[in-house]
């Protein structure tokens, strides 16, 4: 598939909020994947603002401990937080040269093999609801055209996330949508913990088990996670697919 086709499919996939299986948690995972596969970032993480004023990791392109830890740190310092606070992109062409700007994050990022980073605002209407962090293995940063592309993907994903309708674009409504997505993410994490404990699995395998179960049965990830947490669905049903 050439890039134009990839892009067309990506935009359709991100805006298809009417599809039966629309799920904010999955949407943001998809956005992270597009930023790696189409835009060319080495790794990507997406963070969203909570009603308490913090930033919460919603999607990460990889599962390495260093990457996960980097996004944990970014709720307190780093390009995502600066981008979220200003509503403007943050570009770091050389992570090696700015150790004192984010004293805990930069050494960890450099040790993990990242040399450059961009953070793009996740925008809904005139509000910033989070940030998309692109991490690169080589210094220098992405070309402007690729960053514009990543921003466009982020913009349509954010619009889809809040079900943009002219009549309902009140600030309260945006907050409700974002918080609802955060609740879905938390439910997925909780269900993952339940499955890990019940099945004696590590968390990565537990999440994969949940995702496979949803795919096999055509179910939404968030709904299934909430059913597990409510105990309307038995963990063993999900785990029985594992062999």
């Amino acid at each position: 598939m050439n890039r134009e086709q990839q892009l067309a499919e990506a935009f359709v996939g991100l805006t298809d909020t009417l599809a039966e299986d629309f799920d904010p948690v999955v949407l943001l995972d998809r956005l992270a994947r597009h930023c790696v596969e189409i835009v060319g970032a080495h790794d990507v993480g997406i963070m969203m603002a909570t009603a308490r004023g913090g930033l919460r990791t919603m999607a990460v392109s990889g599962e390495s401990a260093a990457l996960v830890e980097m996004f944990r740190l970014q709720s307190g310092q780093g390009p995502c937080l600066d981008c979220y606070r200003t509503g403007r992109p943050v570009d770091v062409a050389d992570l090696g040269g700015i150790a004192d700007r984010w004293p805990e994050l930069v050494p960890l990022a450099v040790r993990a093999g990242y040399r450059a980073a961009h953070a793009l605002p996740l925008r809904a209407g005139d509000r910033t609801i989070g940030a998309v962090n692109l991490l690169l293995a080589a210094p220098g940063g992405l070309p402007a055209a690729d960053l514009r592309l990543a921003q466009a993907l982020a913009d349509v994903a954010a619009l889809a996330l809040i079900h943009y309708r002219a009549d309902q674009a009140g600030t309260g409504d945006i907050l409700t949508r974002v918080q609802s997505a955060l609740a879905g993410k938390a439910a997925v994490e909780m269900a993952t913990g339940m499955l890990a404990e019940r099945g004696g699995l590590d968390l990565t395998r537990a999440l994969h088990a949940l995702q496979s179960y949803c795919r096999a049965n055509g179910l939404r990830l968030t709904d299934t996670a909430q059913a597990l947490v409510r105990r309307d669905l038995d963990a063993n049903s999900v785990l029985s697919l594992l062999n």
């Binding site: 603002a49 909570t50 009603a51 308490r52 004023g53 913090g54 930033l55 919460r56 990791t57 996960v68 944990r72 740190l73 709720s75 307190g76 310092q77 937080l81 979220y84 606070r85 805990e104 009549d167 309902q168 009140g170 600030t171 309260g172 409504d173 907050l175 409700t176 949508r177 974002v178 918080q179 609802s180 955060l182 609740a183 879905g184 938390a186 439910a187 994490e189 909780m190 269900a191 993952t192 913990g193 339940m194 499955l195 890990a196 404990e197 019940r198 968390l203 909430q226 947490v229 409510r230 105990r231 309307d232 963990a235």
Partner: protein
């Protein structure tokens, strides 16, 4: 005691550096409001306390059981109670949406515009009752709603970001208070779908305010590993998210650590929780002697 950063790393100042200053005062105020009050009356005491903290006229707490409608637990004034009950009757309104979406639903102007169009019948009734704005926050740990905390004001206007954060802290304190009620829902066949709250022998015991403060801290630990740990503890104890988080909280509180740190131990499988062997009729003990290290 170590302090949590809401949705942030314990060491960073989070996206809310300035809030954390006010946070300690708010938790202290909520703990003071709950201290020495009989357990069943704590939700009402917290509703009344929040009227001094927020620009609202009244507040109420409704509880819900799986498959049942909501029922009013307490209200700071008759209008707050009637607003909540109007929504159960109509089956529409912010508290209904808050339960479904597990997210705050904020209607700053019921006299017209989008909020009025979204719930036309409720909006009209609410305005007749004297409310101009209503805000509904789901009770629980942010994953499942076990009820709602509903606020109203008699003038049009939104809550500021700071006020919303404060309202969420009151919500967390209320979740803990409801958890402490240890109520049993029973459907009363005579009234169709009315919820009945079984009286409990120890519902009149006074509450220790420090529990409220440490629960608000715990509820703000909105990190991936905390949610994962809550899920693991749910499976270990065969319990719900609120009770599982409460066990993590109690353990952290007893050891002077943050809930995030304890959650990491659980996720790393360095700490397991075991069911307390306490008969149901006994008040909930704050056991701090979990084994498993």
């Amino acid at each position: 005691m170590r302090r949590e950063q809401p949705g942030g790393d314990d060491k960073g100042d989070g996206a809310s550096g300035r809030v954390s200053e006010g946070r300690q005062q708010i938790t202290a105020a909520l703990a003071a409001a709950a201290a020495g009050v009989a357990r069943r009356d704590v939700p009402l005491a917290l509703c009344r306390a929040c009227l001094d903290l927020l620009p609202v006229t009244g507040a109420s707490v409704s509880l819900t059981a799986p498959g049942a409608v909501q029922a009013l637990w307490c209200a700071s004034d008759p209008v707050a109670g009637r607003l909540a009950e109007a929504q159960y009757t109509l089956g529409e309104g912010p508290c209904r949406s808050a339960l479904e979406l597990v997210a705050p639903v904020l209607a700053a102007d019921l006299t017209g515009g989008p909020d009025f169009r979204r719930w036309p019948v409720f909006a009209q009734q609410a305005v007749e009752l004297g409310a101009r704005a209503v805000f509904s926050l789901p009770l629980g740990t942010g994953v499942l709603a076990i009820g709602t905390f509903d606020l109203y004001r008699d003038s049009v206007g939104a809550l500021s970001e700071r006020e919303l954060r404060l309202a969420l802290m009151v919500r967390d304190a209320l979740t803990f208070a409801v958890l402490n009620l240890h109520h049993d829902f029973e459907l009363n066949p005579r009234h169709g779908s009315d919820l009945q709250f079984a009286a409990e022998p120890d519902g009149h015991d006074p509450v220790d305010g420090s529990g409220v403060a440490s629960w608000v801290e715990a509820a703000e630990a909105d990190h991936t590993e905390v949610h994962q740990a809550v899920g693991m503890v749910m499976a270990q104890l065969e319990t719900d998210p609120q009770q599982a988080l409460d066990r993590l909280r109690a353990h952290a509180f007893a050891e002077g650590r943050t809930v995030t740190e304890v959650a990491r131990d659980v996720v790393d499988r360095a700490l397991r929780f075991q069911a307390e062997t306490v008969p149901d009729a006994e008040p909930r003990r704050r056991s701090t002697n979990e084994e498993g290290r």
